[in-house]
Amino acid sequence: MKKLFLILAGLTALFLAYATYLALKVAPTDALQGDVYRIIYYHVPSAWTAFLLFFINFIASVQYLARTKASLQKAVQWVVIAIGVIGVIATFLPQVQALLPTGMRPSAVATTVLAIPAFYFLLGWKFPGDRMDMLALTAAEVGVVFCTIVLVTGPIWARPVWGIWWAPGDIRLTSTLVLWLIYVSYLVLRRFSNSAQTQIIAAALAVFGALDVPLVYFSIWFFRTQHPQPVIGGGGSMDPRMLHTLLISWMAFLCFAFLVCWSRFRLELLKREAEQAEAMESLVGAGTAAKASVPLSRSAR
């Protein structure tokens, strides 16, 4: 296991170096922004990785909550299957296709929708019992790290391009900030909970956070339309070489995130084992000590 990890770590380092090389040397310079646009190769893959991790946190939290009751688990499974089936069918209906933004292919949307049941069942199979909760924690924590990078590199990119550090109406950056806040509060809750069932409380909060995401997005989107905005460039199609570099970079960061998550997960596993061992250890140690010294029942006398 350790050997495998080291090999993967080495490969990932090479992959990241290659992606950075592509980003800095191979990808063409942007005509409008100059070289600084190359931040995109770190900024956007980090954002996608963070969103993926938050998505995993949501799936894991739902599944953890569902597991508290057998009937609930069944029901949630059927809901997830229904989402997959209906989602795939819907993307091929002409009415729904008309709603899709231009450039978004129905087959791509269908694949994305299929990711929901796929993740749900894959994670459910791979992470039994309390491991599901540990997965949720891991995904949230590593997600927050990647989200932090998005929030740091965003303003660094905005400054030379837009002339300001932060555009309050910029929907992507602002909703990412809200997302970051939500998941930081999730981690704070886990940190400060003194409940014996932190897992359930945290899972409930994760569900609330995930439900909030679309609302955050729409509210900021509408808020923006009513307020004067700096002209934010964007849109237009991307040079295929840029897209290629972007995807390579994302792959590299995904591999990296996977390894970080793996380490974090191992750490949590070890921590819980240690807690349990300590709880049981104090039982043996203290138990024998008490038997030797303290008279058995002070209370009865």
Binding site: T20, D35, T153, V260, K271, A274, E278
Partner: protein, 43 residues
């Protein structure tokens, strides 16, 4: 080009954050090992 330093800053910041996080993971791991060892000794 002036904006080049922003590019460098962003890349450096990214790896700084990652390094910092992995550093905290390592220190947490070491502390855990330490406490496990003490637990073993008590036994």
């Amino acid at each position: 080009m002036n904006s080049f330093k922003f590019l460098v800053a962003a890349y450096v910041a990214t790896w700084l954050i990652h390094t910092f996080y992995i550093g905290t993971l390592f220190s947490r791991y070491r502390r855990l090992r330490q406490s496990l060892k003490e637990l073993g000794k008590r036994k």
